[in-house]
Every structure is written in structure tokens, then in C-alpha cells.
Amino acid sequence: MAPVAPRSGDAIFANIERVNAELFTLTYGAIVRQLLTDLEEVEEVNKQLDQMGYNIGIRLIDEFLAKSNVSRCVDFRETAEVIAKVGFKMFLGVTASVTNWDAEGTCCSIVLEDNPLVDFVELPDNCQGLYYCNILSGVIRGALDMVSMKAEVTWLRDALRGDDVFELQVKLLKQVPEEYPYKDDE
């Protein structure tokens, strides 16, 4: 049996069940709005969004793997490319680009020019510290965690704060080897 080639982001996106983009954007907006009301502190909202993203990410990875036929990535460079080209396309319908690699190949930037989460959004003055799309960084962190890569994901540029694009920095902290989970005396 020949190995099945990974499917392209476009092919998966075409076959996947989708919701109306505006519904999606507005629902996300409503969540953020509610969090701001409930938690009051912008910093807390950032944290909460990241945690929500993480919880999504640890489930989303299985759907991603099941539908994309991606097997394993040779190195972190390939992983980042797959996130940007297949992952973002499959779940958000946009493609991102990967730039700014450091010399060791463990840290890069994912640049999003088009971000469906922020249509209709303007940050008011009292929310300037808010990372509106912080859920995305959580999703990436959670998904990478499930494939044994501990990563740190931070926003470098945010179009809602006056930058021209969205830029996420993904830094690979360590890869966790698979270990035998049981103790001998159990």
C-alpha cells in the first residue's frame, strides 16, 4: 500500500463542514465581550482566552491529524509550515506565512495578513492591553503540546493595536521524549 500523501489545506477546507464566517466572527466577539464583563481585568481576559485556546488545541490536534493525513514532521521548520499552510487553512480558511527563523530553527514567526476573527473589531481605549486573538496562540500551544512539543506562543504584532499584520512568535522550548508510563512496581 502506498503511503497516502498529506492533503493540502485547500482540499480539506473544501470538504469540511463550515459555518458562516460572520456568525463565527460575531460569536467570538461575543465571547470576548462576555469575558471582559465577567473578569473585568484585561490581563485576566488574555489569560482566560489563552486557556480556552489551549483546551481547544488539545482536541483540535486529533481532528487535524485525522483529516490532513499529516504523519510526522522531520523538524520544527516543517511543523511551522504545516501549521501555517494546512492548519490555518483548514480551520480558519486563511493561509499564513512563516518567517524570521532564528539560527537554531527553534523560533519563528507566523504572519497572518488576513484574520477572520477581527472583522468588525476596534479596540476601545480601555482595552488597549487586550490581545483580542489570544485564543489562537493558546490553540497552537495546546496542539503542539499534544505532539510532544512544548512551545511558547506570543504576539509580536497585532493589527488591532495599529500594526500592519498579525504576527505570532512560536518558540520551541523542548521536545518531550516518549517514556514508558508505568512504574515497574505498580
Binding site: 469540511i16 463542514e17 485525522a66 483529516k67 510532544s148 514508558y180
Partner: protein
């Protein structure tokens, strides 16, 4: 079929390789060695209690995988036997056959292991295991009431799985 999202599972299931009631049992493990699911259809002999049985199965797969990677003549990177590997590193086996049964195995990069034990004359089940993984995604992962890492208690998933396995093995 109706799923949570109302969508059909894609890709559609592979064509059956055999028919009849030849599925013996199925295990699903997660990366921490927790047995998420154990289904049994035809297994007259039980020598161990369930917990020991799951541990034995997981241990067998773990060692066998490490052994297959160690024996790989095509790869230059040689880990030492027993030294932990990164998931996905090294090669792995997908089935073995004895004179009385066949064990098919699939592992995803996220560490989900699916093991199906069938009649020894069952054909290649790799595509079928992939389909079972898709079922797991639709019925378990997407179920908001399911806690990741906990044993699966979903009647719907069990019924669908039983039906599917009956169709392929």
C-alpha cells in the same frame, strides 16, 4: 449517519476486506498509557484481570516499537534499545500475525494508539484503523462532555464502532 456537526466523516470508509464476525477485540490507548477504550467481541479466554491485560498490551506495543526502530537497516540514527524516543521518531510496525490471530496497530503523532485484534486471515487494516481514528474524532474528541484523557463512555461511539468492525473483519 448523523454526527455532531451533521457532517459525513471524510474520507469515507475503505472497502471491507472481509466479512463475518472475526473481530476479537479493540484497544484505544492515549499517550500516557491510559486505556481509553476496550471493546471485546469474541474472546473466550481471559487469563489476566482487565487492568493487567491493558498494561501488558501497552507494554508489548511499546517494546515492539522500540525493537522495530532499533532493527531498522535503512536508518543511520540508532537510538539505544529502551532509550525513549520522540513520538513519530524511528519506524514502527503496523501489524503482526500469529497462527490464531492478527494484531493491527496504528499510532498517531498525538500518541493515540489503536489496536484491533482479528482473525489471522484478515487483510490490510491500516485504512480501517484510520477510519476508526476518524470515528474517535467525531464521536469522542468533538463531544464537549468528554474530558480528554478519561476513559470513553459513549454508547453512540460503541455502537458505531461495533457496527463498523462487524463490517470489516
Amino acid at each position: 449517519m448523523q454526527f455532531f456537526g451533521g457532517s459525513e466523516i471524510s474520507p469515507s470508509p475503505p472497502a471491507p476486506t472481509a466479512s463475518g464476525n472475526n473481530g476479537h477485540m479493540l484497544y484505544v490507548f492515549n499517550r500516557n498509557g491510559i486505556c481509553l477504550l476496550y471493546r471485546e467481541w469474541n474472546r473466550p479466554l481471559h487469563t489476566l484481570n482487565a487492568q493487567q491485560d491493558h498494561k501488558l498490551m501497552f507494554g508489548l506495543l511499546f517494546s515492539l516499537k522500540s525493537l522495530t526502530a532499533k532493527m531498522d537497516p535503512t536508518s543511520s540514527e540508532k537510538g539505544n534499545l529502551g532509550v525513549p524516543q520522540l513520538p513519530g521518531q524511528g519506524c514502527s510496525f503496523h501489524s503482526f500475525r500469529t497462527n490464531t490471530y492478527k494484531l493491527s496497530f496504528m499510532e498517531t503523532p498525538s500518541g493515540i494508539k489503536i489496536i484491533l485484534v482479528t482473525h489471522p486471515r484478515t487483510g490490510d487494516l491500516r485504512e480501517s484503523l484510520k477510519y476508526i481514528y476518524n470515528l474517535y474524532v467525531e464521536y469522542v474528541v468533538k463531544n464537549p462532555l468528554y474530558t480528554p484523557g478519561a476513559p470513553i463512555r459513549s454508547e453512540l461511539f460503541n455502537t458505531t464502532l461495533d457496527q463498523y468492525v462487524r463490517g470489516i473483519a
